[in-house]
Subunit: 151 residues, 2 copies
DNA sequence: CTACTTGCAAATTGTTTGCATGGAC
DNA sequence: GTCCATGCAAACAATTTGCAAGTAG
């Protein structure tokens, strides 16, 4: 998505931030992904293109992009304390992490948006961002366990 | 809730764990709370009763209690990576943290349970635990901002 | 007694920051 | 040329762990 990258660089420029090779590289890495990546994964991908990039720059850049609204960041199970990031484009995703196989099941935002709307209606609050993390069994493991129980 | 504490101690015993003064103390601290506390807060409260208790013991004990299902743990905004704990008794709580005043609005579990049910129905997964964190404006700040906008 | 627990300090993990150098504009 | 940005290493914060000493059962 070169278009996305151009827009992002224009925004950087407009806000007085410099368009450095590192920032462009991280934009490229992020734009090529559909799901969330953690800082280490982003660093590893960027590092294959530019071996001199540092993890600190990755963190600083991700934080800058998040402040500018270019990327979303959230936490997922089971390593909940590790932050993950992705471009803000496209529908938000949340996850159910399977305790049996570790797989993440994507939960699209409509469900959480319903919840956010319910919240707004019931409590009079306004919601800026929402993060939902579920732990459980994915569809396959749920089915497998049912079979096991039956058999 | 001495009743809760007795039950917890009985469970410890039944599972072959020892009922130490530290564990009893932490149970007392937890039982006296209605909302989530982080490890430091629990340590601070315990420390007023027994100055020799260590933070490591608090962490170990909380993890043990969580494994036994005695307490719930989750993460809340804005310091999302810090874990918070409370006794499993009573309705689960989730929070919306206000970015303007910092107040936490309690979100009772029925909303999230609806979402979990929806998930089960739509995706065939099973949900063990769910954590939802919202960032936004609490009811007061939402109202204040509306007034400000109008006035 | 014996195995589980504790306290302490050190180790880990994820992320941030100070500082001197380097580079975008 | 002037700041902003980078890389490095050290600092931080939250949590975990190794180990020797202590204690519940």
């Amino acid at each position: 998505m070169p278009h996305l990258i151009d827009e992002a660089e224009a925004l950087l420029h407009a806000r007085g931030f410099k368009v450095t090779p590192q920032r462009t590289l991280i934009l490229q890495v992020m734009a090529g992904q559909t799901s969330y990546l953690d800082a280490d994964e982003i660093f590893a991908l960027a590092h294959t293109q530019d071996a001199s990039i540092s993890l600190a720059t990755v963190y600083r850049t991700l934080n800058l992009f998040a402040e500018l609204g270019l990327i979303d960041h959230r936490y997922v199970e089971p390593e909940h304390r590790r932050e993950v990031f992705r471009m803000s484009e496209g529908p938000e995703q949340h996850y159910l992490t399977c305790v049996r196989c570790g797989k993440r099941t994507v939960i699209h935002a409509d469900l959480l948006n319903q919840m956010a709307n319910e919240l707004v209606r019931r409590k009079g609050v306004s919601v800026i961002s929402a993060c939902a993390c579920f732990t459980g069994y994915c569809a396959e493991c749920t089915a497998a366990l049912k079979r096991q129980k039956r058999g």
